[in-house]
Structure formats: structure tokens, C-alpha cells
């Protein structure tokens, strides 16, 4: 038996299989829809495999091994939609004058290590999004002194700061 949670702004319900009785305005799984499960794609017509719970949203169906895992994912989705992300992202560029590879970051209120994203010691220019930002040489230490307020950008880093940024935080 599989549990199905259908999310809309005002409705969350649990049903069995795709035989949902949710309101017509809420997203509805359709015959032929596929569901994402642990990086793979499930076709409900072929069975659910190890999935026991699914979350249906406007963007698709995501299934989970346990109902608890689904609950955690929903918490993350809901918290993400609150204020965890800045409305426009910080962009760090590998080259000067906003050229070369770019990493886009928007998670707020957390020190983010760039090494986890393969972008440690690569920043040569940046563009700050809608939220003021701090750039660091270390992991939350040795703060960059240039202008990193909301909307700021630079075509090159201050002297001695090229290719040394290792972490950031977005306020």
C-alpha cells in the first residue's frame, strides 16, 4: 500500500495509490505520469518498487522509501519556499568581468563552503543578488573587504583576493 500526499497551497491529503479524492484545483497525477524515486524514474503502471509514499506537486511526483522520508522532504520544500533562499542569487565567476564558469548561490543564513561545490579558490569577479553577502578567504574567517552589499558587482577582486575565496554567507 502506498501513501500519496498531494500538496497545494491549502490542501494536503493522504490517499491510497493514485485513487485520490483531492480537490479539482490541486495537482492530480494522471495515467502515464512518472514519479521520481531515489534518482530513478518510476512508472506507477509498472509497480512502485521500494517506494511507499509519494508527494505530488505542480512540478511532478516524488516518491520515497518511507513516509518519514517523505515528511522530511516536504519540510525542506516548505522551508525552502519560506525565506531560506534569496530572491536572486549571488554569482561568483571564474574569470574577471563576469566571464568564465559561474556558480549561483542563494541559500541564506548559513556559511557555505565552496569546496563542496568544486569552486574553492576560483573567484575572480562577482555579482551580488538581492541579499547582501560576505565572502571569506577561510571558512567563515578573513572577510573580504570589498563592496558586497545587495546588487553590488565587481569586474575584478581587490588586490590579493583573486582566486582565494573559500566560503560565503548570504544575509
Amino acid at each position: 500500500m502506498i501513501k500519496l500526499v498531494i500538496s497545494a497551497l491549502v490542501l494536503t491529503t493522504t490517499a491510497v495509490g493514485f485513487a485520490s479524492t483531492a480537490h479539482a484545483d490541486t495537482p492530480q497525477p494522471q495515467p502515464g505520469d512518472v514519479a521520481a524515486f531515489e534518482g530513478r524514474t518510476l512508472d506507477p503502471d509498472d509497480g512502485w518498487g521500494a517506494a511507499t509514499a509519494c508527494h505530488v506537486t505542480d512540478s511532478g511526483v516524488s516518491c520515497y522509501r518511507t513516509e518519514a522520508a517523505m515528511d522530511r522532504a516536504i519540510v525542506h520544500i516548505e522551508s525552502s519556499s519560506r525565506a531560506v533562499d534569496c530572491s536572486s542569487s549571488l554569482r561568483l565567476y571564474d574569470g574577471t568581468s563576469q566571464t568564465g564558469a559561474v556558480i549561483s548561490l542563494s541559500t541564506r543564513q548559513s556559511v557555505i563552503s565552496l569546496s563542496a561545490y568544486g569552486f574553492d579558490d576560483r573567484t575572480s569577479s562577482y555579482r551580488v543578488g538581492a541579499c547582501s553577502t560576505n565572502l571569506y578567504n577561510g571558512i567563515g574567517t578573513s572577510k573580504y573587504g570589498g563592496n558586497t552589499s545587495a546588487g553590488a558587482s565587481t569586474s575584478s577582486m581587490a588586490s590579493g583576493w583573486n582566486n582565494v575565496i573559500s566560503s560565503i554567507s548570504i544575509a
Binding site: A101, I103, Q109, S115
Partner: protein, 230 residues
């Protein structure tokens, strides 16, 4: 009744006497030679068994080479790449139970690409975090990365959860340095992360008196810095 006197037990072993020692040694030597000869006798094997074993070894080796997988060691970061180039553009996401689905969402909403969702491959990058690239099959291994194994350990999931809690707590309330360390320690205790520690490496700047947390999974450490205005 069994004898327990050590002398009686020793006599039952019939130890060699000066008169029969050579004879017994020769007898033992002959027995050893006979045993070795038996062991060295070639035994015929079913060629099908030999062939099957060889095929199994080859297939196992090939499967290992093609499907080199691992799980993340850093569950707090997900890289969503725009192309197969690991030096190319990417969007950085925070922790996700399902990194591929999280990145797929960026393709759906147009943050990545120009419409359409390509097949996505989940890999583990050199920092031990999830990296999702457009492609499929053995792409990760071709890029020199392991294929991403689904799921997190209990501790990793707890770290993901505490990260979300801390971002929420510190984003809605201003904690000074002392209060921030206490709050993180309280969350660590609540989560049962016994081997984890909290620290605050530098004094807070007066212009940014409110704490922001960071997670150092490699050293099982949560730190707080002053990075936000009141």
C-alpha cells in the same frame, strides 16, 4: 574413571624409549611422505566449472569497473551542473534527500537550460558531495567520479535536519556569540550528535552582531560566525 595423575597420562602417550626411537622416527617420516604424495596427486576438474569461474571473475571485475558507486560524505551540498563540464556553470543547492530530483526542478523551472529536462546523472564529487550532471549511463565514472548511491546514513540525515533547523532559527532570531554557541549545543544535544562539537572561531564584528551557522562535516563541527546585521 579417567586418570588425572600427570605421570599416568604421559605413560598413556607411549613416549619413545631409547630402544624404539629410530624405528618410530622412520615410521613417522614414511607417513609424512605418503601424505605429501597424496596431496600432490593431480585432480581432474570439470572444464565447465573452470570456464564458468573465469567468466564470473571477468564479469565481476567488469561490473565493478563500470558501476563504481559511493554515497556522499558531505550531505549538505548539491551541485547542479548546466553541462557535462565539471569546470563549467553550476547552481549550488543546500542539502536534499534526493539530489537528482532537486536539480531536475531547476531544469523544469528554467533556471538551468532553455526548456526540457535532460536525463540526469547523480555523481559524488571530489569533496564527497552530490554533483548532478546532464547525462546518463556510466557518465560519472567517465568523469572520474563515483556514481551517487541513493540515501543517507542516519547521522547524515540528522545533520541535514539540524542544518535546516539552524538556518531557520538563526534566520529568524539574532543570536549573539555566546547565545549562538549555546543554541547550537542545545540543537546538537537534541539531535543526539554526540561526537559533534560547536565553536566560534573569531570574535563577532560589531557591525554584524548576529550569528550565522556553518557545518563542517569533515571535522564533525558546527561553527558560528557574526555575519548578519541586527
Amino acid at each position: 574413571m579417567k586418570p588425572t595423575d600427570p605421570v599416568d597420562l604421559f605413560q598413556q602417550l607411549e613416549p619413545p624409549t631409547p630402544g624404539n626411537a629410530e624405528e618410530r622416527d622412520a615410521s613417522i617420516l614414511a607417513a609424512v611422505h605418503a601424505h605429501v604424495a597424496t596431496k600432490q596427486k593431480p585432480r581432474s576438474r570439470n572444464p565447465w566449472i573452470l570456464g564458468g569461474g573465469a567468466v564470473a571473475i571477468v564479469l565481476t571485475t567488469a561490473a565493478f569497473a563500470v558501476l563504481r558507486t559511493s554515497s556522499v560524505s558531505d550531505p549538505t551540498a548539491v551541485s547542479c551542473y548546466a553541462t557535462v563540464d565539471l569546470e563549467g556553470d553550476l547552481v549550488a543547492l543546500a542539502a536534499s534527500d534526493d539530489p537528482i530530483q532537486a536539480c531536475r526542478q531547476l531544469w523544469i523551472d528554467g533556471t538551468l537550460g532553455n526548456g526540457g529536462v535532460p536525463p540526469l546523472a547523480g555523481c559524488v564529487n571530489n569533496a564527497g558531495a552530490a554533483a548532478v550532471v546532464p547525462g546518463e549511463g556510466v557518465l560519472c565514472n567517465r568523469l572520474g567520479l563515483d556514481e551517487l548511491e541513493a540515501g543517507l546514513t542516519v547521522e547524515q540525515q540528522t545533520v541535514v535536519d539540524i542544518n535546516a533547523v539552524l538556518i531557520d532559527r538563526f534566520g529568524t532570531e539574532c543570536f549573539d556569540q555566546v547565545a549562538a554557541v549555546e543554541e547550537v549545543q542545545r540543537q546538537i544535544d537534541n539531535a543526539g550528535l554526540d561526537s559533534w562539537t560547536v565553536d566560534s572561531p573569531e570574535a563577532f564584528d560589531p557591525s554584524t552582531p548576529c550569528a550565522v551557522p556553518g557545518i563542517d562535516t569533515e571535522n564533525r563541527r558546527i561553527f558560528v560566525i557574526g555575519a548578519r546585521a541586527r
